[in-house]
């Protein structure tokens, strides 16, 4: 059991280091969201390993809470990302090429569009709505001022 937990801890530490590299490098916010998701799962696994090492079930509610926080945090950030318009939109042909830059440019693109349409498109963009009916409103609203 000691050897198994030692090897498992080393593997989890290595996995956390690798996802940290992705967190640093990831050319998009979404890659960083995935890296944080992986790191939180590794934290849950680490807490489970310490519980197995001690043999005490003291930390088990922590595991449950972390699993739920993992989901809520990831979904919240994904929903609230500044939204780049669809690449199929003809007026955004230049912005589609900007989308291939390596930096975190989704914020900059959204600020560009705030000037174009005259609207301040905040994080509560209905384009990212979970249900389908969020879709029809946004393309129509985008093209009205132009």
């Amino acid at each position: 059991m000691t050897i198994a937990i030692a090897i498992s801890t080393a593997m989890l530490g290595l996995a956390a280091g690798l996802s940290l590299v992705r967190l640093y490098r990831g050319p998009d916010s979404l890659d960083r969201i995935l890296a944080v998701d992986v790191m939180l799962v590794i934290v849950i696994a680490g807490v489970a390993l310490t519980s197995a090492w001690k043999g005490q079930p003291t930390n088990l509610p922590l595991i449950m809470v972390l699993a739920l926080v993992n989901f809520v945090g990831g979904v919240a950030i994904t929903r609230l990302l500044p939204h780049d318009t669809d690449a199929t939109d003809a007026t955004d042909a230049t912005d589609a090429t900007d989308a291939t830059d390596a930096t975190d440019e989704t914020v900059a693109t959204d600020l560009d569009h705030a000037g174009d349409t005259g609207d301040a498109r905040g994080p509560a963009d209905s384009r990212l709505g979970a249900a389908g009916p969020g879709g029809p409103a946004a393309p129509g609203a985008e093209e009205r001022p132009s």
Partner: protein
């Protein structure tokens, strides 16, 4: 060969396999070229690795309270991973992070054009 010895060995095996799968998921996250490919690495091996670690923990800490708590944690990870992956994939598609030429079947663009 008592029960506790067998269950301890099974728990240790579960912990080892789960940690190995978590490492495989992290390697995939680092090495895959695209956001959508990294989604595969983050959801499938990670979820199975975490479930194996929780099973190993349940076999090591042999109480019924721990089994119910770990069942809740495992079910939370198992059922929410596809939802989070779906949201990230859709946002990646809509932000132009997906090279449409590499897709064989592209149903989302038709749905977006229809406005559904």
């Amino acid at each position: 060969m008592t029960w506790s010895l067998v269950l301890d060995a099974a728990g240790a095996t579960g912990l080892l396999l789960g940690a190995a799968l978590c490492l495989a998921g992290a390697v995939g996250l680092l090495r895959f070229p695209d956001t959508l490919s990294r989604l595969h690495a983050v959801t499938k091996p990670q979820t199975l690795g975490l479930l194996l670690i929780l099973v190993g923990l349940a076999l090591t800490v042999r109480t019924w309270d721990s089994v119910t708590t770990l069942l809740i944690a495992g079910a939370a990870q198992f059922f929410t991973a596809p939802v989070a992956a779906h949201l990230v994939g859709r946002t990646a598609y809509r932000n132009g992070r997906v090279d449409r030429e590499t897709l064989d079947v592209d149903e989302l663009s038709e749905a977006l054009e229809r406005g559904d």
